[in-house]
């Protein structure tokens, strides 16, 4: 897992932005040093000394002033040129007939991902094959969110009623951390993203595994009780388990929840203990989240945890 920044790009889309940032950053630092040096020099050199003569009153010099108007202008023309260049490389145009590979929908406060070819459903943790440009259609189910994985390229707003397209690509296998970057209400802090890039073969293996329906054959007695509870309680009003309940799109799909690294969009690591805490009182783990406290008994929590842990 890497602690990403735009300066450690892991994508052909993030690379040009890193380059642009370095060049603009160096220009900025150079100008800052120049201004600071001039200010400090003037401050020390031209300090008032007792008995000094009245300074010469200079009203300005037209030529000099035109020079320090034009010089920044030339510098900005240069920055503008490299900006446009970086824009084309960081955010390539999408041809009209190119269909998206994936639909990502921002929800308060989690990410839904639908692979449009394979029909895999995922949440918060998104797998992609390395070295392949994935075209993502980004939507929102409620308020404005923003997709941002610094090492993989630009951020893009998920605006309700205004779907956006953007490219997603990673050069090297790894887990890339990201987050929602547009303030979207109470739990904006816990809308984390993980992009897991893996070689094509591994990605295909993951896809096949995601499409398989977890086997219920070897379930423990607790897990069997949990499965019954899942049907009996209102869980499936929002959450679906493939081959078992209809997809609702309201809450995260749970078909393979046990295989995820984190719970509730990054609030906790996914362990049976944390899952039990979450089921017992989601509002204590992620206040204001849309999962209510169902006042489950300790027994019910144990059964449901056992069941959900079988969903690999």
């Amino acid at each position: 897992m890497q602690n990403g920044s735009p300066f450690t790009p892991a994508s052909t889309l993030a690379q040009p932005i890193a380059h642009l940032f370095v060049v603009v950053g160096m220009v900025m630092i150079a100008i800052l040093l120049l201004v600071t040096a001039l200010v400090l020099y003037a401050s020390f050199r031209y300090r008032y000394r007792p008995g000094a003569r009245e300074p010469h009153q200079e009203f300005g010099r037209r030529g000099l002033e035109i020079a320090w108007t034009v010089a920044p202008l030339i510098l900005l023309v240069y920055i503008f040129t490299i900006t446009v260049h970086a824009m084309h490389r960081a955010d390539p145009e999408v041809s009209q007939n190119r269909l998206p590979d994936m639909l990502i929908v921002g929800h308060q406060w989690w990410w839904e991902a639908r692979y449009l070819d394979s029909h895999v459903l995922a949440a918060n943790e998104i797998h992609i094959p390395t070295g392949k440009l994935f075209l993502v259609r980004l939507e929102s189910a409620d308020v404005i969110h923003d997709w941002w994985v610094p090492q993989l390229g630009r951020k893009m707003d998920a605006v309700p009623g205004h779907p956006n397209l953007f490219w997603l690509e990673a050069d090297a296998p790894g887990t890339y951390l990201g987050t929602c970057a547009e303030y979207c209400g109470a739990e904006h802090a816990w809308m984390r993203i993980r992009v897991i890039a893996e070689p094509q073969v591994a990605f295909e293996g993951w896809t096949a595994q995601q499409l398989a329906i977890p086997s219920t054959a070897a379930m423990s007695a607790d897990a069997k009780d949990g499965e019954k509870l899942f049907q009996k309680l209102t869980c499936s009003n929002c959450h679906s388990v493939s081959g078992f309940t209809q997809d609702t799109g309201v809450g995260p799909n749970l078909t393979h929840i046990a295989g995820r690294e984190t719970l509730a969009a990054g609030v906790r690591t996914n362990t049976p203990e944390n899952l039990a805490k979450w089921l017992a009182n989601p509002q204590a783990v992620k206040p204001e989240s849309h999962m209510p406290n169902f006042q489950l008994t300790n027994e019910q929590v144990r059964y449901l945890t056992a069941y959900l842990e079988t969903l690999q």
Binding site: A42, P55, G60, E65, T83, H88, I144, N164, P287
Partner: protein, 553 residues
């Protein structure tokens, strides 16, 4: 204190002396621009304290990862109120207050053109601010951020009344600002003393004038959008309700059509203060008056053409992004011109490092940092990475705190003796400056890096990733150091009012008209105006051998 020099009439005693003999009613009922100006300043100081306490609460919550000092709801209300307070109840009124007090004095007028409207705009500010803060008692303050993006600000996602208080409160403040703008424009156009031509206006007055036109054109856009939001929320309309066909982006376009000129509304008068302070303490006339004045107009015009640079991440497409990048880059040119002109003014001078000058010099460097990081946003692929992160938080605080607040601090140390008749303590003043400079940079400089390594803004907590906890802790320590600096400043004001050194008419040997009258000035400002034959009438008086008007200025 019997040793107080009484120059002209009894009303020129220092402020505190007068206060003992005046009733509250004289303040509440006044239409004197000086009293109204002081009330503006006191109001913004009180709200500055409120906004500052909110900032410290946020910094306590963010000091360590996973902290639970504040609930997410409380944090979100507090960060929203911090931003809204600092913009609308501190930055705008402190500048309007300074303008109110100083503009008539600097142009040789008795008062503003419309004194009763002046009182109206002050009281709209006071009650608008109280109305906004009443939301805390009425079920919760607004919590959708200071720019309240739709549809988060709509009833479906913000069901408490906080957003209604926000919309109505800002609406009231907006009317107050527009009234004040009309008044200042009328005053500057109509009430200049004989000889005070437009080309001889002190630069502070010039920049205030330009700013009032920005207010006049930008605030109605805000008030129109606030009305639409209110109609959506209270009457179930659909301007910004996406679920029933409204547009989320429409709000952003409307809001930033106001919001970007707003940045210059709270920065240009600060530039004006710097343009007064630096020449006086350098002992030199401003370098390139015409360039400084004209670049202000250029900034004002450009400020209306760059609003969508706040929206580079919403997916407007390359052509629109590119157009707004051009405008945003161009605006750096007239701003850079000012920085160079101010430095050129110091060059070859005899610089007296009073507290006012220290803050002005601090401003030069701090504002440059904010301006330069601004250029990096205009190179918009960089914006695609760092917008809505702590890099942006750092940028905006270098502009609005390192810029506006440093400049206003400079202005307050400079004009406080004129307003109260007493000189703020230089000893406390210098401590205030250095502690503030250290605290400010500790708080905000590392936030550039915090944003770059992935921390988004407006989060009530954050995961324990490498470096995040350390940098946030540094910011929190810095914020408390700034708190100490503010306490020192308040203490300085208090002891100065009680026993500060008497200032006299012109303690700094300054050159503009406000220094030609007593400190504080009498009811109608001037007993007698000096002849105004150049931009520096008092320089001409003091230097009959080398007056400015000989140079045609």
């Amino acid at each position: 204190m019997s040793d107080v020099p009484v120059t002209v009439g009894a009303q020129t005693l220092p402020l505190t002396k007068r206060e003992h003999t005046s009733s509250m009613l004289r303040w509440v009922a006044t239409v004197d621009h000086k009293k109204i100006g002081i009330m503006y300043l006191v109001t913004s100081l009180i709200f500055f304290a409120a906004g500052g306490i909110e900032a410290l609460l946020m910094r306590i919550q963010l000091a360590v990862p996973g902290n639970s000092f504040l609930s997410p709801n409380a944090y979100n209300q507090i960060f929203t109120m911090h931003g809204t307070t600092m913009i609308f109840l501190v930055a705008m009124p402190v500048l309007t207050g300074m303008a109110n007090y100083l503009v008539p004095l600097m142009i040789g007028a008795k008062d503003v053109a419309l004194p009763r409207m002046n009182a109206l705009s002050l009281w709209l500010l006071v009650f608008g601010g109280l109305f906004l803060y009443f939301s805390f008692l009425a079920g919760g303050a607004p919590s959708a951020g200071w720019f309240s993006y739709a549809p988060l600000s709509e009833k479906a996602y913000s069901s408490s009344q906080g957003l209604d208080y926000y919309a109505l409160g800002l609406f009231i403040l907006g009317i107050g600002s527009i009234v004040a703008a009309i008044n200042l424009i009328a005053t500057i156009i109509l009430f200049r003393a004989p000889g005070m031509s437009i080309r001889r206006l002190p630069l502070f007055v010039w920049m205030v004038l330009i700013t009032q036109f920005l207010i006049l054109l930008a605030l109605p856009a805000l008030n129109a959008s606030l009305s639409m939001l209110l109609i959506d929320r209270l009457l179930n309309a659909h301007f910004f309700v996406t679920a029933s066909g409204g547009s989320a982006l429409l709000w952003q376009h409307f809001f930033w059509a106001f919001g970007h000129p707003e940045v210059y509304i709270v920065v240009l008068p600060a530039f004006g203060m710097i343009s007064e302070v630096i020449p006086v303490f350098s002992g030199k006339v401003i370098y390139g008056y015409e360039f400084v004045a004209a670049s202000t107009v250029a900034i004002a015009v450009l400020s209306f053409l760059v609003w969508a640079h706040h929206m580079f991440a919403v997916g407007m497409g390359h052509p629109i992004d590119t157009i707004f990048a051009i405008g945003s880059m161009l605006i750096a040119v007239p701003t850079g011109v000012k920085i160079f002109n101010w430095i050129a003014t110091m060059w070859g001078g005899a610089i007296r490092f009073t507290t006012a000058m220290l803050f002005a010099v601090g401003f030069l460097v701090m504002f440059t940092i904010g301006g330069l990081s601004g250029v990096s946003f205009a190179a918009f692929p960089i914006d695609w990475q760092v917008t809505d992160t702590y890099y942006l938080v750092a940028h905006l605080h270098y502009v609005l705190f390192g810029g506006t607040i440093f400049a206003v601090s400079s202005g307050i140390y400079y004009w406080f003796p004129k307003i109260t008749g007493r000189l703020l303590s230089e000893k406390f003043g210098k401590a205030h400056f250095w502690i503030m400079l250290v605290g400010f940079n500790l708080t905000f400089f590392d936030q550039h890096f915090l944003g770059i390594i992935g921390m988004p803004r407006r989060v009530f907590t954050y995961p324990n990733l490498p470096g995040w906890g350390t940098m946030n802790m540094i910011s929190t320590i810095g914020a408390f150091i700034m708190g100490i600096a503010v306490m020192l400043f308040l203490w300085n004001i208090l002891i100065t009012l009680l026993q500060g050194e008497i200032a006299g008419d012109n303690p700094w040997n300054a050159w503009t008209l406000e220094w030609a009258t007593t400190s504080p000035p009498p009811e109608e400002n001037f007993e007698l105006l000096p002849p105004i034959r150049s931009r520096r009438p008092l320089w001409d008086l003091a230097h009959p051998e080398n007056p400015d008007w000989k140079h045609g200025r």
